[in-house]
Amino acid sequence: MSEVVLILKYKLISIFKSALDSKWGSVLKELASIFVFTGFALSTFISSNYATAYLLSEAKIGLFLFHRVLSMLLFVLFVLVSLGNIIVAFSTLYKSKDIEFFLTTPIKPIKIYVIKFLDNFFYSSSTMFIFIFAILLGYGSYFMKPPEFYIFSFAGVIVPFMLMSASLSIIILMLILKLSQRFDIRKIAVFAGLIYALAVYFYFKSTNPMKLFTEVMRYYPYVDQYFAQLDPSIAVYLPNHWVAEIFYFSARGNSEMVMRYFLILLSATVGVLLVNFGVARKLYFDTLFIAFDLKNRIKKRFEIEILSFYKKSIFHPQLEVFIKRDLKTFLREPSQWVHLLIMLVLVLIFIASLVKMRLYRVEPQILSIAFVSIFSFNVFLIASIVIRFVYPLISLEGMSYWSVRSSPVKLTLLYLHKFVISFLPVLLISEAIAYASVFPFGKDPNIGILITSVSFFVALTYVSLGLGMGGYFANYSEKSPVRIASSRGATITFLLGLVLISIFTGITFFPITFYFQSFKFNVEFFKSAIFVSALVSVTLSIFFNCLGLRSMTKDF
């Protein structure tokens, strides 16, 4: 164990040394990060507190429904942490530079695994911890909980919950790698992605949020009661359900039930961790060599003829080679296309659920909440896609950037190319979601015009944000797009993206609420919302694109 402690100690020293860099530029960056993180935590705390108060005191949805919504959010969190961990874990546990060094030392592979597992867990979940802790504070302060509640909830509930998700994902990763000896890894990865997508689909199909809402509301005003009979039978086996139950019974002051679900959660976490280390003891060493040799075992390579460099093209020669280079390198990097595929499947599931959803005979207040929830989730999806795929674009020029910089290329052309190849797909996704978002509101054309117009500006703003900040925090020496997308710069960008969600949601909230409450279409309200979105979007886009372009000309 002493080796593990020694390595962890030096890892921490290296992190603190780089964080405590005394250069002015670094100090300013640190201060800016602290400012953004604090602002983000504060706004998350306020939003969480306000949302809890609004749902329980204004909308009066009751404790049961509130915690079932929480359970659904926790399910999404579980899946996101798990997916994030699979992809980041491949970089951290198999591709990081120190692995090869550790293998030359007399440290047992399982110890290397423990170090890398902890590194991976804290690396990919650190922002999530801040986010969740701020939510917890907002939630707890509504119920006026004592300080020990936060310690217990965070360390005793949330961390084990996320550890379980992370462990599960790494077990899956090791199994995928092991199976890749027999089957094409690309097929296994697609299969695993489909299983995740199906799990999300069946979870929401079985929980059926709309039905649950209608059923519970039939008992109004006695909606704080425990309606366990409405839960699908599968729910009791899911960790998100245990966590939601802990909070529900804690809100109702039933410590016996809190303890019961806490013990279930804790035992399950310990169990999954033991399985995780057991599987690692058996498979990690083997799968390390499988991962090292992965690229040599992919025999049949998928090539798209039109992307061939040898083919003539209608584009300007420099633009042509940029497009072909970027698409080829994207398609040849499994962590890129697999992640995109998973995200697209999730977007499709979301679109399919929206198209089926109908909000008839619902109170205007609830309609407003539904609109805000759907719209903010749309923007959240766009923000996530941008952070994962647009933010790393400039860094991905990599150490080979010398070849572009020493060539007769205008960097504006390169930046423009990066902007266009990001903006077009993001706009397409954004508009598709926006179009589907009108279905729950009876395909109302007025809502349609508002949401599709604002979505255009959302796509423009987020792509500019991702590209601009990606340039500002560019790290050309990092090869993995996943690690770039989970770096500190990406985290700050994501937090700024979350602030933008509240800005765009705020802009649409007033005309929509007025519309739902009065059933009158106030064209001026709608026009103003679109105008303000355009103004915010164009201003921010100019700023971020200038930042990105300037960053590309920095010394290399």
């Binding site: 040599n296 460099f309 420099q318 080679v321 390198t329 040849r332 990599g398 007769p408």
Partner: protein, 239 residues
């Protein structure tokens, strides 16, 4: 052909290149020597457009490289000290990529690639992804990419790193041949043997300043007056 006028680069308080002025004529092979951290790579990166000078001017084929960078770079080829190429592209794709950046016609690229692959003995490796290459193979592909668009000026940083003796010979012969054809070559190297064998002129840089510049006859003269080794001259000047 290549002219540096009062070139200075500061990184904060540290002056990496200090008021450097020199001129390399058409067809001249210029060896740029200096101890570690003297400012060789910084100078080369400024010529290649990777680093912006704090002050001073760079002229490539008479074109102000800071005022008209794209025009100046169209005459230039740069070979970095570390052979970084896109891992996921094949060597051939990388050469086509570079050809595209220099706006070459596809037919011309094809013709040149076939010649260069053969010339540098890259063989079947050219259609394998760069992630499978050795350091030397990457270096060969990068040198091939530098010659693709028939540059008038080649700026090359430590060209022999990672090359086996046979490849090094091919590179040396090619560079010498290019120089004879009128191409200006500005080469940074730590290898005094290589510099002595190839260069018409040698410039020595120390602490960012050009401390000495000799042509072939001056080097010979200096060597004769000492122990007959360029090494002694270098050590004496850079101590």
């Amino acid at each position: 052909m290549l002219q540096l006028k009062n070139l200075t680069k500061k990184f904060g308080d540290f002056v990496a290149v200090d008021d450097l002025s020199l001129e390399v004529k058409s067809g001249e092979f210029f060896g740029f020597l200096g101890p570690n951290g003297a400012g060789k790579t910084t100078t080369i990166k400024m010529i290649a457009g990777l680093i912006k000078p704090t002050s001073g001017k760079i002229f490539i084929c008479g074109i102000d490289a800071l005022a008209e960078p794209e025009k100046a770079k169209s005459f230039l080829a740069y070979v970095p000290d570390q052979p970084f190429i896109y891992d996921k592209l094949t060597g051939r794709e990388f050469l086509y990529f570079i050809g595209g950046l220099f706006k070459m016609k596809k037919e011309k690229i094809r013709e040149k690639v076939d010649f260069l692959v053969d010339h540098f003995e890259i063989g079947r490796w050219i259609d394998k992804r760069v992630e499978e290459y050795s350091q030397g193979m990457k270096q060969r592909v990068i040198i091939a990419s530098a010659l693709l668009h028939d540059p008038k000026v080649i700026v090359i940083d430590e060209p022999m790193v990672g090359l086996d003796p046979r490849s090094a010979r091919i590179v040396k012969d090619t560079l010498k041949q290019k120089s004879k054809e009128g191409v200006t070559i500005f080469m940074s190297t730590h290898s005094l043997d290589v510099a002595e064998e190839l260069c018409d002129t040698i410039g020595i840089i120390k602490d960012g300043k050009l401390i000495a510049q000799f042509n072939a006859s001056e080097i010979e003269e200096f060597k004769q007056s000492r122990d007959g080794k360029l090494e002694s001259l270098f050590i004496e000047l850079t101590k």
